[in-house]
Amino acid sequence: MDGIQSWVEFVVGRPGEILGYTIEHAILVAAVMASAAFVSILVGIAVHESMAGRSVALSVAGVLITLPSLALFAIFIPVFGLGWTPSFVALFLYALLPILRNTVVGLNEVDPAVLESAKGMGLSSRQTLVKVKLPLAWPVILTGIRVSTLFITGVAAIAKLIGGPGLGHYIREGQTRLGLPLGMERLWTGVVFIVLLALAFDAFYLILNRLTTPRSLRSRGG
């Protein structure tokens, strides 16, 4: 009880500061996700019909996601220095795989009968992609973006180690002051607000899904 009380006091004592770090964190994640989604969907569209292209793209993204995160962040310091840029680049590379994989799966999962009838009615392959395949794959793609976002929101805490922004600040501070006054409180502040931010993103995707998919597609996918 004592711990919780002092944590609450810690949080209530510095609302502006916590909000500031949370917003930083959110902006970093949002920027990473927007660009990763854009790139992954484009790459997914480009490779989804070719077996070879598909396996190359998925292997590359798969390798990226298995690199140890600490190392990936550090690798870019010589190139981009410290701060936002290397954090962004590292997180971007992490975010690709789930979206890319779901884009490819979603596009290839479209019922062949639907494609046959689309072609049979005289839709060009471009029209089929835009009017049929993408809308049908969208719930699956959105699920990929959502999974990726949750993952990135957590990993982004490490950005602090290379001078990046965000709630990682409290985790790092808490770690270095472990055993000292308010060390634990800092650590928990970082963890709790990252989780809250993740929940907020999740709620955002639920709403986005409602707004962007017709009711007939809503039972499956996102």
Binding site: D111, A113, S117, V132, S216
Partner: protein
């Protein structure tokens, strides 16, 4: 079904009144001589396969007719359809659509002019029914008002209430409703030609029967040129103005009207394919109005008196006497036994007449009625229920004989049935 031949200019010289001669020896079932679709020695081998899916298929579809392609699974029926709208390209041969070789026109434009119904329906799950039906009109650049009006018109056409179904999604329809929307969507921009690949395949027999009837009624108005694929010979007989029975690799086993195929199967393959129900099927193609009724049957009005009734029956060779009511409608069947045993009035004596056939009924209906009736005969009535004549087993036998005779005469005139015996019997 059968209509008088209207194309006098081109076919005028030949055998007057009879079916005119078209290349390949088949008579026209419906008016036009104009060929809408023509396949010329078309062969298709899929990449990576070492056997032809279709081997040198030649056929013609006149404007406004339904041609049914029927044959065993895997014989290339779907392949033939998909060649026509260039979903796939032929390995060799030519496909002429409305006078043009299909390979010389833009494939997407060609497909917008051809309604295509696939067996799996393939409605767009993310689009409403209205949007699904509007697909081709929108692609063809129709404005919103015209498109909306067309959507409602088509929903009405396939018997679905626009206000109820317009905004639904495909997953909110039953299988039969989805099939109808598939047909409505294919009719979208009023194409001249429809390609239909087992469009009523996946539905229960009763609903299928209804959809078939609705479709035939629709076709009476629309007069589209239709290539219809099925593996069900009964459906082929019902839907086709002409039927191509296909064997392996789509070699034509027989190409003719349903009537002649049933009356004179070209070879064992066709006979096996039609099956033992062919005779009954033949009867279902003939209507009561077209047959020679037995009008010598013993018949009296109910008010002639019992003695007169006895006299009529005794002088005839039949066992049963038909009694008519005041309005000349068939009322009772009576035998001498009935007349002797009781002194009931004629209108109450004997058995009630149950087996009746109207002019539009088929002979098959008439036969079923007959088998259930007391007197072993079906009474033909006119539209207002008045007595017209009697159909007996003998009447039906005569019809069957006439059908066989006509088919034989037709083939005698055209030397050979349009067949390919060598390849398909195996």
């Amino acid at each position: 079904m059968a209509e008088p031949d209207q194309t006098t200019e081109e076919s005028g010289g030949g055998d007057a009144g009879g079916p005119d001669v078209v290349a390949a020896g088949a008579g026209t079932a419906h008016g036009s001589d104009e060929i809408m679709i023509e396949l010329q020695e078309v062969t298709k081998r899929y990449p990576g396969s070492n056997e032809d899916a279709i081997e040198s298929l030649t056929l013609q579809v006149p404007k406004g007719e339904i041609l049914v392609l029927v044959g065993p699974s895997g014989c290339g029926k779907s392949t033939a359809l998909r060649l026509i709208n260039r979903m796939i390209e032929p390995t060799s041969g030519h496909i002429i659509f409305d006078g043009e070789d299909v390979t010389t026109v833009d494939a997407d434009h060609l497909r917008r002019r051809i309604g295509y119904v696939i067996q799996q329906i393939g409605l767009f799950p993310h689009r409403t029914i209205a949007d699904n039906i509007a697909t081709v009109p929108r692609l063809s650049g129709w404005d919103k008002q015209r498109t909306d009006a067309r959507v409602d018109e088509l929903l009405e056409t396939v018997g679905m209430d626009p206000s109820m179904y317009r905004d639904r999604y495909p997953n909110e329809l039953s299988g039969g409703q989805a099939q109808r929307i598939g047909v409505a969507r294919a009719l979208g921009a009023d194409p001249l030609v429809m390609l239909m690949d087992e469009p009523f395949g996946a539905i229960d027999p009763i609903t299928r029967d209804r959809l078939q009837n609705e479709f035939l009624r629709l076709q009476q108005e629309l007069r589209k040129t239709i290539v219809f694929v099925t593996h069900d010979i009964d459906e082929a007989i019902k839907m086709g103005d002409r039927i191509a029975i296909l064997g392996e690799r789509s070699r034509i086993a027989q190409f003719d009207t349903p009537e002649r195929i049933l009356a004179a199967p070209a070879n064992d393959f066709v006979e096996d394919f039609i099956g033992s129900g062919a005779t009954l099927q033949g009867l279902s193609l003939e209507r009561v109005r077209d047959v020679q009724l037995n009008t010598d049957y013993p018949v009296v009005r109910h008010d002639v008196g019992v003695t007169e009734a006895q006299r009529v029956l005794e002088t005839s060779s039949e066992d049963w006497l038909l009694v008519l009511d005041d309005d000349d409608r068939p009322a009772r069947w009576v035998t001498l036994d009935h007349l002797d045993r009781t002194d009931k009035r004629l209108i109450e004596n004997g058995r009630k007449v149950t087996a009746l056939a109207e002019p539009e009924d088929t002979l098959r209906d008439a036969l079923e009625e007959m088998l259930l009736s007391n007197a072993g005969a079906t009474v033909a009535i006119d539209g207002r229920g008045k007595y017209h004549g009697v159909i007996e087993l003998e009447t039906l036998m005569n019809v069957l004989q006439r059908m066989r005779r006509e088919a034989k005469a037709h083939y005698a005139r055209h030397a050979e049935p349009d067949t390919d015996d060598t390849s398909v019997d195996a």
